[in-house]
């Protein structure tokens, strides 16, 4: 919302400087996005009359304009805009002028033609936005007059404020002035209006019928007779509209917008003769009903949209959003039916959003207008129309009433105010803060120190005690509430899962892997292209089709990341990601709880590892390393093809025999499809159970002070025998065994094709003494016997 200092001062006569006012706006929750000083540096600008426009003999983009400064002499100007015609009055920056942006105007030649000044646009004058070139001034000004004098321009300040959804009042000059006046300690008053009343009562020509009173709380129509069709709005009004961001259109539309900006009440003037029978019917649309709105678009409506119809039940407009073309004010209009209404905010918001019509009116209705400012707004409109267009207001009003919000006073407990804010305010202090902004306080008859607070009609957002507490805080000043430290004695800490996740990340970076965070969205077909079932849940409104499916695996994202790097000639990248995947919920599980747990997907946290330029065993090593770090002693792999993986180089990663993921190499076909020419080793595991697992403390094994003895043992075992099983047998065979390490596996011509050789280094020690050769030999034999017996092994020479 933009607002002018001069306009604010008409309602709240403050004399604080603009910096103080800006600070007040910030403190009140209407933060200043921009402050602009207007009307400064315009001393050299005068009103000029266009005598003639001519083409430039040697340029297309600029033309020549002769202007008269009141002395009858033609002065030639070169100009890049072509929107003026002979007779128009325009602002001219004379030679020697310094423009608001610092540019100096000098006599100069442009493509061989002299230019003796510069014609100005609104932007160049700092008077608002341009609408197609040079600013055309009102025709009744006198050429040669300084512009500031001619249009009554005084230096002014324009604030552009951010307005939150809970401040319907702040979308009007009056609302902002009221809030500001309370903070600055000056009186506030609404504008007054006493239009001339004449002719027959409005009710003799107009009628209102509210068929859906739940959506329309009030619908008043006033009648203005005797419109001068040639009238144009005055320069001061056009200027205010322009700097506040609205385009001057016609006298009546300008007045309508002016009243809306000033009082926050959207309104709609109809050509009285365009309203069948002069009757307004306010009803819900019928499904399938259509209306062509003022912007010339046919709108399809549904049963929750509210329509304003004429006596013939044909729609004139969409309530609170936009009018139709049929009863528009035209050059032939003489009598005006003026609508001032209150519509249910939720309903207007819904319709405006559905139709994509975020109009100024809808923005105000949606936040909640003031149903009681309507009478003043109508009088203000009538006064301005009388002044500008010569109309007279018909006595009376046709005032349709529906359901308005309940405005029972809210009980505000002073104790509660202090409980929430941490302040020490008494009822008198609370009253002093609230009364000036219209939250009128009355001592509660039945509870000492508490207040019954009347919610002002312009604060539709406020309905409960906590809303009033916020107003107290806002006007007390957030920075005056004493800051306090928390007094909790609870220690903060990470959970087991969070600790273990950090350990995991630390291990992975230690292994030389770098973390990536690609988007969790995939393109349709991307899962099947990667060898996975097309089970991804879709978004209803993705930004682009390439990001419309939720991932069920980290594989496509990481393979794409490898491909991106390869395309940029970074090969052998080692990447990992810890992120969520979204699996369809399995049937039969209907968890309990608030919300819709029955609809939410099976969301899991996965770890993905992609090692470019590496083969499957490296991924297995990564898996075993992280399992060891996480204390998962029973982690292993079982050869098995997995989706998206190399059919003969993939396995299931298991913990305690339960699959937790896949490990191996990416399918060469998938790699080729991504243009990747290196092998890519792959690991993906579900972290949920792995991180949540409580790993007991490791029991201490005393370390011997005596030297140990190493013995190498090579066994030939059936191919199906697991190396891990043999290792376990060795560890358990003798109490003298400290450690066992597999250092070689061998399958060669010397070994039967269904057998292989496993070579272990066993370390023996004793905590009591240095072992003798005889003791080591005896223990060695015990181990050999155990492995031979348990695994059908033979000792290799």
């Amino acid at each position: 919302m933009k607002v002018l200092q001069s306009w604010l001062r008409e309602l709240a006569p403050f004399d604080q400087d603009p910096d103080t006012v800006s600070a007040a706006f910030n403190d009140l929750g209407t933060p200043v996005e921009e402050v602009t000083r207007l009307g400064e540096g315009l001393d050299g600008i005068v009103v000029a009359r266009v005598l003639e426009t001519r083409p430039h003999p040697r340029a297309d983009r600029i033309g020549l304009v002769d202007v008269d400064l009141g002395d009858g002499e033609a002065l030639q100007i070169c100009c890049g805009a072509f929107n003026m015609a002979a007779g128009d009055l325009v602002p001219l920056a004379t030679l020697g002028t310094t423009m608001p942006d610092g540019m100096e105007i000098a006599r100069r030649k442009m493509r061989g033609e002299w230019s003796n000044g510069m014609l100005c646009s609104s932007t160049e004058l700092g008077l608002g936005a341009d609408h197609g070139g040079i600013r055309i001034l009102a025709p009744d000004l006198v050429p040669g007059t300084p512009l500031t004098e001619a249009i009554g321009l005084e230096p002014d300040v324009l604030w552009d404020l951010e307005v939150n959804a809970n401040r319907p009042d702040a979308l009007s000059v009056a609302g902002l002035a009221r809030d500001l006046a309370a903070r600055l300690g000056v009186p506030f008053s609404l504008p007054t209006a006493d239009p001339r009343r004449d002719g027959a009562e409005a009710a003799t020509e107009l009628g209102v019928e509210i068929l859906d009173p739940d959506l329309c709380g009030r619908f008043g129509v006033w009648l203005l007779r005797g419109l001068d069709p040639a009238a144009t709005s005055p320069e001061w009004m056009q200027r205010r509209l322009t700097v506040l961001g609205m385009r001057p259109i016609s006298a009546l539309v300008d007045i309508s917008n002016y009243v809306m900006l000033e009082l926050g009440q959207p309104n709609h003037p109809y050509d009285r003769d365009g309203v069948p029978e002069g009757r307004f019917r306010i009803r819900r649309a019928r499904p399938g009903e259509t209306l062509t709105t003022l912007d010339d678009v046919a709108r399809s409506l549904d049963g929750e949209d509210l329509l304003i119809c004429g006596g013939d039940d044909v729609a004139l407009g969409i309530a609170g959003v936009m009018g139709g073309a049929s009863a528009e004010i035209s050059a032939a209009t003489t009598d005006v039916a003026l609508e001032m209404a209150w519509f249910l905010p939720r309903s207007v918001g819904r319709t405006a959003r559905r139709l994509g019509l975020r109009t100024e009116a809808a923005a105000r209705f949606e936040r909640g207008c003031d149903p009681e400012v309507i009478d003043l707004a109508a009088a203000r409109f009538a006064s301005l129309a009388e002044e500008v267009c010569g109309t007279a207001l018909a006595p009376g009003v046709v005032d349709g009433r529906g359901q308005l919000p309940d405005r029972t006073p809210v009980r505000v407990r002073t104790g509660r105010v202090n409980q929430v804010l941490g302040t020490d305010l008494d009822a008198a202090a609370v009253t002093r803060l609230l009364d000036p902004i219209g939250f009128t306080c009355t001592p509660a008859p039945d509870a000492e120190g508490d207040l019954d607070v009347a919610i002002p009609s312009w604060r539709h957002d406020s309905t409960a005690e906590i809303d009033v507490v916020e107003e107290v805080a806002r006007h007390h000043g957030y920075d005056r509430i004493p800051r306090r430290e928390l007094a909790t004695s609870r220690p903060g800490r990470l959970s087991t899962v969070q600790h273990r996740r950090r350990e995991l990340r630390g291990l992975l970076t230690g292994l030389g892997l770098t973390e990536v965070m690609p988007l969790p969205f995939l393109a349709p077909g991307q899962l099947t292209a990667a060898g996975f079932p097309a089970a991804g849940i879709e978004l209803r409104n993705s930004l682009v089709a390439e990001e419309s499916v939720l991932r069920t695996t980290l594989l496509p994202g990481l393979v794409a990341a490898v491909a991106t790097n390869a395309a940029r000639r970074s090969f052998g990248v080692r990447l990992f990601e810890v992120g969520h995947v979204f699996l369809p919920r399995r049937d039969g599980e209907v968890p309990d709880g608030p919300g819709r747990p029955d609809l939410l997907p099976d969301e899991r946290e996965h770890l993905g590892v992609a090692l470019a330029g590496a083969e499957a065993p490296e991924a297995v090593r990564a898996w075993l390393a992280l399992a060891a770090r996480l204390g998962l002693g029973d982690a292993d792999v079982a050869n098995e093809p997995g989706p998206g993986l190399h059919p003969t180089r993939s396995a299931v990663a298991r913990v305690g025999g339960t699959p937790v993921g896949t490990v191996g190499e990416i399918d060469p076909g998938v790699l080729a499809a991504h243009g990747i020419s290196e092998r890519v080793a792959w690991l993906e595991v579900d972290l949920g159970d792995l991180l949540a697992r409580e790993v007991g403390e490791v029991a201490y094994r005393p370390v011997s002070r005596f030297p140990s003895s190493d013995v190498d043992l090579a066994f030939e075992v059936p191919s199906s025998t697991s190396a891990a099983d043999v290792e376990r047998t060795l560890l358990r065979a003798s109490p003298l065994v400290w450690s066992v390490a597999l250092f070689d596996t061998y399958r060669a011509p010397g070994v039967d094709s269904d057998r292989r050789s496993l070579a272990y280094r066993v370390r023996f020690d004793s905590s009591e003494r240095t072992l003798t050769d005889a003791e080591v030999a005896e223990a060695r034999q015990t181990l050999i016997d155990a492995v031979v017996a348990a695994h059908g092994a033979t000792l290799r020479g």
């Binding site: 009140l28 959804a165 306090r484 969520h580």
Partner: protein, 336 residues
């Protein structure tokens, strides 16, 4: 006047010293030593023959013999030290390495900037007495909107453009637009007192450009306990500001609006140079939200504050384009 024996001893000692000086390495020195003072040496022979002399001669010869033996031993030790030093010099010269030519076989990998920043923030909050809570990225309407006091058609729903997930009826399931749904989940699951921070990924249906991301990261703090006031909110933000940004930084709160808090505020951080950083939103947890979380708002009060972390993470390194958060290029990632 020296006897013949004494003279012999002096001569033998002098000869031995001279021979030792000629030894060129430690082994040669050891051989010479053995020859000149070993059991078979001439000096040993002289020692054995002393018994045949008269007492005076024997005492005099004994003294000479001791003197000569000591001189020879000293000469041997000196020569050994010389030879060992020379050998050491030669060895180390031969073992010279240029250690500046060494490169690490494989350098450690890098955590993503977002992770680094998240972990740092989590640590700060843990230090302030908070635990860390997490929740799902795909949420139902209740937890993301309605339960947070954002019913259907609430104008503030526009503040958060939403991705809708094709589950249930349209609008039933969304990608969470903020981390606040976890507020309700923590209230449901644990109840007061609550001192948690919630880091996480969130999604908004907005076109990506240098200053906007559709997928980004937030962290928010939630406290619900008896006696929690707006003063605690401001004090905790100030404590966080100093702990995370540094002692020269401070904070301020400005009135704002969020449906799930009331009173609500924006909070800004003031840098030591006086400039301001608009960081995030905060407020007292709305009584309706507490009630929706199964907590009596008359008995318990609470506050929440949160902010986006992607901009923070990048700004520390001078990265200005937010889209770089999504980069998978190792040349980018390995710089941090």
């Amino acid at each position: 006047m020296g006897s013949q024996v004494t003279d012999d001893i002096a001569r033998l000692g002098a000869t031995a010293v001279e021979r030792l000086a000629w030894a060129t390495d430690v082994d040669g020195l050891r051989a010479v030593e053995s020859e000149v003072i070993g059991k078979g040496s001439e000096l040993a022979g002289v020692k054995r023959s002393l018994g045949g002399l008269d007492p005076d001669e024997r005492r005099e010869a004994g003294l000479a013999l001791n003197r000569a033996t000591a001189e020879v031993a000293a000469a041997a030790a000196d020569r050994r030290a010389e030879l060992e030093a020379a050998a050491h010099t030669e060895t180390v010269a031969a073992e010279r390495l240029d250690l500046t030519e060494v490169r690490s076989a494989r350098s450690a990998g890098h955590l993503h900037l977002v992770t680094q920043t998240m972990e740092e923030l989590e640590d700060v909050f843990v230090g302030l007495g908070f635990e860390v809570a997490e929740g799902p990225e795909v949420e139902d309407d209740w937890h993301n909107f309605t339960g947070l006091n954002l019913p259907a058609y609430h104008p503030a729903r526009d503040m958060q453009d939403t991705f809708f997930v094709d589950l249930g009826e349209p609008g039933d399931v969304v990608l969470r637009t903020h981390t606040s749904p976890v507020q309700l989940r923590v209230m449901e699951e644990q109840g007061p007192p609550i001192y948690v921070v919630v880091p996480g990924r969130v999604h908004r249906n907005e076109a990506r450009d240098a200053t906007h991301l559709a997928t980004f990261h937030q962290i928010e703090a939630l406290v619900v306990d008896r006696g929690i006031t707006f003063g605690h909110l401001a004090g905790t933000i100030e404590a966080f500001t100093r702990a995370y940004f540094g002692p020269g930084f401070s904070s301020r709160l400005r009135p704002s609006y969020f449906p799930f808090t009331e009173p609500s505020a924006e909070f800004d951080i003031q840098r030591p140079d006086g400039s301001w950083l608009e960081l995030g939103g905060c407020g007292m947890v709305h009584p309706e939200v507490l009630r929706n979380g199964g907590i009596d708002p008359e008995e318990f009060t609470g506050f929440a504050f949160g902010f986006g972390i992607d901009r923070l993470a990048l700004a520390r390194h001078g990265v200005t384009d937010l889209r770089d958060i999504l980069s998978v290029d190792v040349r980018f990632l390995e710089q941090f």
